[in-house]
Symmetry: C3
Subunit: 453 residues, 3 copies
């Protein structure tokens, strides 16, 4: 149930249409992505058409904590020919047919030898699995189990035209400045080829959310959007900026698997009760009946890095049907049919509502905290006393005036009072204009580190 | 379920009979009260016959935080004559017929003009509403909606003989000294004319509770009773004594709507878990099956001031059917038939039991905290060991000896052990006499501020 | 449900057979025990055959806090002859026939006089009650209520050959050294004659648990086992060693009523959420379906002393059907038929599992806490990325690497992750060997006080 006040806020700064998302999706879908290489670069260039991103290239071999940036993957083609010479598998038809980051190989192999390099899913015999080999140099092909079972004895010709070369890994980010250097972080990943919920929904929702936030006339917080190869990308980014982010990030969210028609899901941060968690859970509760809130676990996506013990950032995950919770996950069946562009629009609304909530979530204190103020003097008094039932607006005034003690934010007030958060923000504005409450000062002294971004 | 020990304590210091309450009620009922003026003075004079009160007069215009004390309302009569000259409304018949604190007016008005000054309740067509206009100077009359609907076209004569003059606002209080300057506060209000549950029950219960507490041979705590016009009265009192009360009040209660036959209600303080809350909830649980405990909300009565963020006193509300929870609230139907004098006696018992609980609620510590004491040496040992099931008295001894570590009060012990609080107080006396436990010293140094009262 | 990993740990260090327990039981059963005297000495000598104990003799009259060590009870025989000269009661047949610690008496008494010295249980007419008179000097006999009802008028001859003499009270203990002076305490009592669950099960389980722990090649903690007369024994021990135990004991358990076939019970320590409590509750949950966890109450056994406010040790109670919860408690019906030697073996397994849990319950921190480690470099990486469902081992790795922040112990990790504790210990070893996590240093400086033991 979305309150009218929230509906109006969403309408005032509209997001994209489903058609626009579909068009962007179709541009991104065919690209062969991996953690490094041209696929990522082309992907980021297209995202840059939605919202302005800055690309960063991290050279091959750069040390990032325990990790080193791997070589670029140059992929040209992958084909398999049957013993009778027929072309029976071609990565042109589906990017998943090649084991991602596969070594190149050209040669003729027996069926037995071939089997050692083939991957399929007996449980989902019609799906091509998505598998990667970033840190073990090998060649491989993926196919449906049904196809694999039909392979007959004989010698197969394998042509994988791929190589690994020194180069760089591509990250993109955008820092949207706000009145405060305190940051809200949104992070998503761009290394999965030709899957739809995981991952095209993440970058699409993130880029359009960024575009929508950029269209606001002003922002309280600074917003940082990250588009990274999963794992190694966030690790490289944290190696460069993690210490600063520890001081700057008030709340953050990984966006992933956020484009299917299922109800929204929020996975809590490792800390579990941060502002990020409270805001997302509140919006989810009102926004998405049937929405799920999950406790943190250290598997999943880049929250594994953001919530590693050395950072422990207030970062949760916003999703719809989350990774590993749907059978199409990491297969060729996670495709355009599986996702819903109206659902992606709804996801953008949800994320935008979370941001709007954070923007308005001030801590107030009364200018004079003793007793109630004399509302008549401030033109806030009803003409007659003794009314039997106060309306929601009057109740909201009473709650805000009572809880504005410099410790409660508006979200706490909404939760304690049971009143709608968005109504409280309007009433708080009225009381602020009347001079009855003022915002508690933000913590001082936080300025972006020299060259931090 | 009241334990026998509590029943005996209540019988040992009896409260008033229902007949006595009825007689006091009948003296107070006819008076035209408002926040200022002679009605309040006469009301306090009658209450002074029940228990000795000290009256305070706060001059008109006195600044109290954001507020100023309003002028005195001098009301003499209010009458309405129909176009045919018949007297159709007279405040002599019901004080609610005049908008409380109405301006004077004498003149002839059309029905249309009159309607702008009439107030009624379409939902409860037989009731006269109670409405006030303390801070907007206007004249008005209140009538049943049924009567209002029968008014015909024509000119009506209005005679409201009332004026506002410089004078003072009347407050009364009584400070009943105890061994400690730490205070228990009871506050009620005296500005509502001719309603029974809200408000005559409050002042009646408070005055007789005060009389009963005054009859105790000694008191641990100092008790402060306040009889005030609602809102402006408590604000004026806090402006004078609030800073001292912040240091002195251990627990406090607003008494309101405490005379009907419904089950008892406790509305928590803003802090929610103070001694005031724990004591009231414990007594309610045993005293009043079906009793309600409500979380704090910042509407209602004078708790709005006591619990404003600058004070945040440990003050809750003791009531039966609380304000706005019964349809007769703030109408002429909140009358003598709606209340029950036996229920008011029960309310006095309830409040008295809360006070007795607080009086006895010591924190103890063992004189020798190591191991159990050797009970035989202290004449507390059963002659045979190995008994299969200890009785309640022995269990109470074990709990008190175990939890007397200088941090737990007896109420905590009752809650942790599940044993009856009043039994624990008796067993604690036994152990105290035997020298096995002593009371933890009260915090030192609290003395009433110079001229504080 | 015991995990396979735990089953293997239990098998690797096996406990006694039921037959061995039965044989030990039969040696201990006939002895007339009391809080002092030869019975206790002979009991401790037999226990010393199971595991090496050190006996301590505390002289009669030694002051221990509020208490003094009582004289030794020298008991030789107790017989009752009917008016016709028949021997109708002889303590040789059941040690419970004599009021424990009874004064000696020889003489002829009327039935009326005799009745004042007889004890029986009308509710359980076939049982002989167990009663004591440690601190009131009197003589007495106990019999079944059925027998008592058949007594006829006449003079009865009473021959109780018993006396109280200066001597000493016998305590035994064993301190099994570990790598750390931090201690795990197990305490049980040895003063009840000829009952089976309360108390032979306690000393039998304790002695065999000690033997089993002693057979471990190494121990992290120091283990202290106490075999004491109930109450006065633990008080005397605390008087000598209590201050040291306050600094040394990390977790402790009283073992009592731990030999019947009922499900296991854990009674929490007074503090309720110590390591002792968490460990016992975790093991109980997996080990004993239907097991009970009870909140602390200050009755029962020697936890009354360990948890007295001056000590407040982290000591709970491990039992099966706990004292006073079975009708045979403190009667002759608490006999060999009531207990189960296989159940006692299971109790030893349970206690041993608690000790093993504590032994392995380290707090870890990551050597490099930033992001995830690069598992491939540490030979911990699966050859293919993108697997759809991680196995339990991989999940355990992720949890341990995520929660190793120097504040969580493995038990916390098991509880937060829902993964099996014993699996986590194995995975933690792997990660420790790989150098990815290290144990947080134990608190320093704790060394046994000079001559503390």
């Amino acid at each position: 149930m979305r309150s009218d006040a929230l509906k109006q806020l969403l309408l005032a700064t509209p997001g994209p249409t489903p058609e626009r998302l579909a068009a962007d999706f179709d541009r991104l879908w065919p690209i062969m992505r991996s953690i490094t290489g041209e696929g990522v670069r082309r992907t980021h260039a297209i995202l840059n058409d939605i919202a302005p991103l800055t690309s960063l290239e991290v050279p091959t071999g750069t040390q990032c904590y325990d990790w080193a940036v791997p070589e670029e993957w140059v992929f040209r083609s992958a084909r398999l020919y049957a013993p009778d010479g027929r072309l029976i598998l071609d990565a042109v038809q589906n990017n998943l047919h090649v084991l991602n980051y596969s070594a190149g190989f050209s040669g003729s192999v027996s069926l037995e030898e071939l089997q050692e390099h083939l991957h399929s899913l007996p449980d989902i015999p019609d799906a091509i699995p998505y598998l990667t080999t970033y840190y073990t140099r090998q060649w491989g092909l993926c196919m449906s189990h049904r196809q694999r079972e039909q392979l007959t004895q004989g010698r197969y010709r394998v042509e994988i035209d791929a190589e690994h070369v020194a180069g760089s890994m591509t990250l993109s980010h955008c820092v949207l400045p706000g009145d405060s250097p305190e940051e809200i972080l949104f992070s998503t990943y761009t290394c999965h080829p030709s899957m739809a919920n995981n991952e095209l929904s993440g970058p699409l929702v993130a880029a359009h959310l960024l575009r929508r936030l950029a269209s606001l006339p002003s922002r309280r917080y600074t917003y940082r959007f990250l588009f990274l190869p999963e794992t190694i990308g966030s690790i490289a980014y944290l190696a460069a900026h993690g210490e600063y982010l520890k001081t700057a990030v008030k709340a953050g969210y990984v966006l992933t698997c956020i484009g299917d028609a299922g109800p929204a899901t929020y996975k809590r941060s490792r800390q579990a009760d941060t502002l990020a968690d409270r805001a997302a859970e509140y919006v989810l509760q009102w926004f998405s009946p049937g929405g799920l809130v999950l406790d943190y676990w250290p598997g999943g996506s880049d929250e594994r890095q953001y919530c590693s013990p050395g950072f422990n950032l207030p970062v949760g995950v916003l999703a719809r049907t989350i990774y590993a919770a749907y059978p199409q996950y990491h297969t060729s069946q996670d495709n355009r049919d599986f996702v819903s562009f109206p659902a992606m629009c709804d996801s953008i609304d949800l994320c935008f509502a979370v941001a709007l909530l954070l923007e308005r979530n001030h801590v107030f204190r009364r200018t004079n905290p003793y007793c109630e103020p004399f509302l008549a003097k401030h033109n806030l008094h009803a003409p007659l006393g003794g009314q039997r039932l106060p309306g929601a607006w009057k109740k909201a005034r009473q709650w805000i005036l009572n809880l504005s003690d410099g410790t409660c934010d508006l979200l706490h007030m909404a939760q304690r009072s049971g009143l709608d958060y968005w109504l409280l923000t309007e009433v708080a504005s009225e009381l602020e204009k009347a001079g009855l409450i003022i915002r508690s000062a933000s913590p001082k002294g936080l300025r972006p580190a020299e060259g931090a971004i």
